[in-house]
Symmetry: none
Subunit: 213 residues, 2 copies
Amino acid sequence: MVTIVVADDHKIVREGLIRLLEAREDFTVIGEAANGDEAVALVMEKRPDIVLMDINMPKLSGIDATRQLGKAGCQSKILVLSMHESRAYVEEVLRAGASGYVVKNSASTDVHNAIDAIQSGASYLSPAITQQVVDAIARPGDGGPSGVSMLTEREREVLELIAEGLSSREIASELGVSLKTIDSHRSNLMDKLDIHKVSGLVRFAIRAGLIEA
Amino acid sequence: MVTIVVADDHKIVREGLIRLLEAREDFTVIGEAANGDEAVALVMEKRPDIVLMDINMPKLSGIDATRQLGKAGCQSKILVLSMHESRAYVEEVLRAGASGYVVKNSASTDVHNAIDAIQSGASYLSPAITQQVVDAIARPGDGGPSGVSMLTEREREVLELIAEGLSSREIASELGVSLKTIDSHRSNLMDKLDIHKVSGLVRFAIRAGLIEA
DNA sequence: CCATTATTAGGAGTAAACCCCTAAAACGCA
DNA sequence: TGCGTTTTAGGGGTTTACTCCTAATAATGG
């Protein structure tokens, strides 16, 4: 019997997931959490085999919760449930110590398969994701760490301020440097990310978790 | 027997919802859609009693889909499922012609109750929502309609394209009007929202669910 | 029928964004 | 010590964005 804890901030989604899980007779849900804090506490207490963890949760994100459980030496395998298919997310989730990544746009059988896989010690990535990871590896140019990690500290800082709505002049004054310097950083980070519009930068910054929407 | 169509862009959520609905023997799900366009087509074809519609969907949002169905004279009652509890959303959803508004953080029984209610011609709002609506009615002048609902159809459209990264020129060509027209819409919507930068518009559009991050 | 609003369009101008270059000082690293 | 990277800074240019005006047409609503 595989014991499972479900963490998702939407009760109705949680209920649906539990039904989907318990359609398998060898799965049993022994607890549910509505945010990251609750999830960590519950998992430490119940020690389930599997944690089905949503990424977007208040207080503590699913990624941070995963990270904390890892540091605490928790043996439960974590299967992250996400609505994002972007490479950046997958990287971060796996780095945080999760054993699997399933997009919400999956069939219930995918979740079953994922649990079977990580229960036996393997990793599991949604079919939709595997392709992206393969693409990322195949592409050497921007291949490495996608996005934020290819930026320097300063560029990240500038990007954040741009996304927060400051003009280049305001950023220059904020950081105590010349307008032209910000212009350089701006150009450089735009080249690195291959995003050449403010709108794109904002969305990137949000996806990357640099700022909140 | 109450016939239902479920529209949500996440397959796994859709599956969960269907299970929750079919736990009631007098409910039967006769179709499912993964985006707004599909939903409209499917509902026009199948003519269900109820449409359980998510707001955040690609191509055509649940709100726009609701609006289209209303204009087409569709008799199906629409129950909107949303993760947002903000007043602005509820306003717009009801204005679009939906019969009910249920937040995702509800129990399945709430959805059952909502369907019973709107099936008998009533409206249904999640408990979490009712208070907000009452508040909004109580002080009409104060906050006013905050956000999206104060924009016109065209302004919303332009905002969406701005947030998606199109330049004014591209938007003009996309919508088949003059650059100056887009400039007008842009100015007007910026005045209405009191947001005067692209970065702010993008974040607003994301918060408002007009686009995805 | 009149008032308001939505949609369209333009003129004219300032500010900002964005693109092309170069280049110096500082830093770690091999 | 030299090499790459980061951070700094600038010159000069084109293109958008943004603001301030006006104004015609159509539709909506009291």
